[in-house]
């Protein structure tokens, strides 16, 4: 009798488990979620205490990453990405990764203008990080359509070059773009700086560029070069003169 009761109990439990698992397994697999998600305005979250704002920003960061990953290779709809990134970066203005990821994700959303604006906001909040002006220069050069884009990109690269930790190539990029943007004076100054601070490769590049930019006339060239003395260490200036006037000896 007791054995039969135990068996009945075991069968009942097994039946219940089968019903629970069976029901759940017949549910349709979740499809793509709606690309238009309600994201409250930043001003709504600004009312929360500072510590809560950081956590809210981090929750939206996780959401933004999942949202981007889900839609970028499927329906290509990233409608709510700008609003989401706006919340993340407003709640955590020093969360640099959010700006960098956001700017490039907004390219996929077809909004380089918003990506540029996001980076500008990030640079305002993190003025000592050279990555921001570096990426801003890249955005300006690649996606702007006006005739001043070379000069604007060069200005951003020059700003990046003035910040600690920047890549050595940033100054060369800036100088190159000033040359392309017909800002000859600034290009010459930057190339002189590159010469003053760079290694052998950078110095050779600088001399080649300056050779094209400086006047051919020896007197005029001497005048132009004299102005560059303050832009490099005194110990390098003599070598600089020798390199820039190599063809005149």
């Amino acid at each position: 009798m007791r054995g039969a009761r135990k068996l009945l109990l075991a069968l009942s439990v097994a039946a219940c488990v089968a019903v629970v698992v069976g029901y759940q397994s017949t549910r349709a697999a979740a499809g793509l979620s709606n690309p238009r998600v309600f994201v409250p305005k930043v001003s709504f979250y600004q009312r929360f205490s500072p510590a809560m704002r950081v956590t809210i920003g981090d929750v939206y960061w996780l959401f933004a990453v999942q949202y981007y990953g889900e839609h970028v290779d499927t329906d290509h709809r990233l409608d709510s990405l700008p609003a989401t990134l706006d919340v993340v970066t407003s709640m955590s203005p020093r969360f640099k990764q959010a700006y960098f990821f956001g700017a490039f994700a907004l390219l996929d959303a077809g909004r380089p203008d918003l990506g540029y604006a996001l980076l500008e906001r990030g640079f305002k909040a993190n003025p000592n990080d050279w990555h921001f002006p570096f990426y801003l220069g890249f955005f300006a050069y690649t996606f702007a359509s006006n005739k001043d884009k070379d000069r604007i990109a060069a200005q951003w690269y020059a700003k990046a070059a003035a910040l600690p930790g920047h890549l050595p190539s940033v100054e060369r990029l800036a100088a190159d773009l000033y040359t392309k943007g017909n800002a000859k004076g600034k290009a010459i100054e930057l190339w002189a700086q590159v010469y003053g601070q760079g290694d052998k490769y950078a110095r050779d590049k600088a001399v080649a560029a300056l050779d094209r930019l400086l006047p051919d006339d020896k007197t005029a060239r001497e005048k132009a070069v004299a102005r560059l003395k303050d832009l490099m260490p005194a110990s390098r200036f003599d070598q600089f003169i020798a390199d820039v006037f190599a063809g005149y000896l």
Binding site: S49, A51, T55, L62
Partner: protein
Amino acid sequence: MRKVLAVAVNTFRETIRDRILGVIILFALAMIVASLWLASISLGQEGRMMKDFGLVAVSAFGLVVAVFVAASLVRKEVEKRTVFVIFSKPVSRSEFIWGKFVGFGATMLVVVGGMTLFLFAVTWAVARSPSAAILVAGLLVYVQLLVVMAVTVFFSTFSSAVLASVLGICVYVAGQLSHNVLSLTQVSHSEALKAVTRGVFYVIPNLSAVDLRASVVGEGAARWAGVAAWTAYLGAYVVIALLAASWSFGRKEF
């Protein structure tokens, strides 16, 4: 003071015996699972996410323990009639309340301290850089919880344990939003309403004035003078709440 200490030691032993420290193990398991999960979904930001959500978890786990244990701290003694044995000795009611609070405060120090140390170790392992600010932030979470405990003990002297727990949680939530009450006092046009909201602002503990979570994840630097002033404020609040609890418990008839 000796009597308070005697009650405190007894309370500490009793609460430890209730397997409250199991919360630390639960927390540890939750953090291990969370670290694996966050590493895969946060796009390289697992260190930041661990610190932020880890401290939220320390607060949440601590709040649950603080509120539910504090609510039954005094009531249990009354319901089990053990309070009569205590009061047959030269122990006053206020000494009993203070002793209970100090004893449970020590238990919570072990609980919150254990969770914080584990979080520190996990984030060190995940983010590859130790962040001492987590330890200070954990200490501030503990101070916040002391306030909630004191208020819950006060509620438990005149209401049921369930109601005291609910009220304790409400005070915690209200304390997180207390600066909004101050905003209300500024936008209101009615002088009476302004006075009422200002009164509410003073009564609700300001639990959100300082929180190191933002500086732990790199959003601004901590202002230590502000932290010290806020800690002193919360300490004073705990004393007031316990004095009120002693007064309320002293008027109770068994």
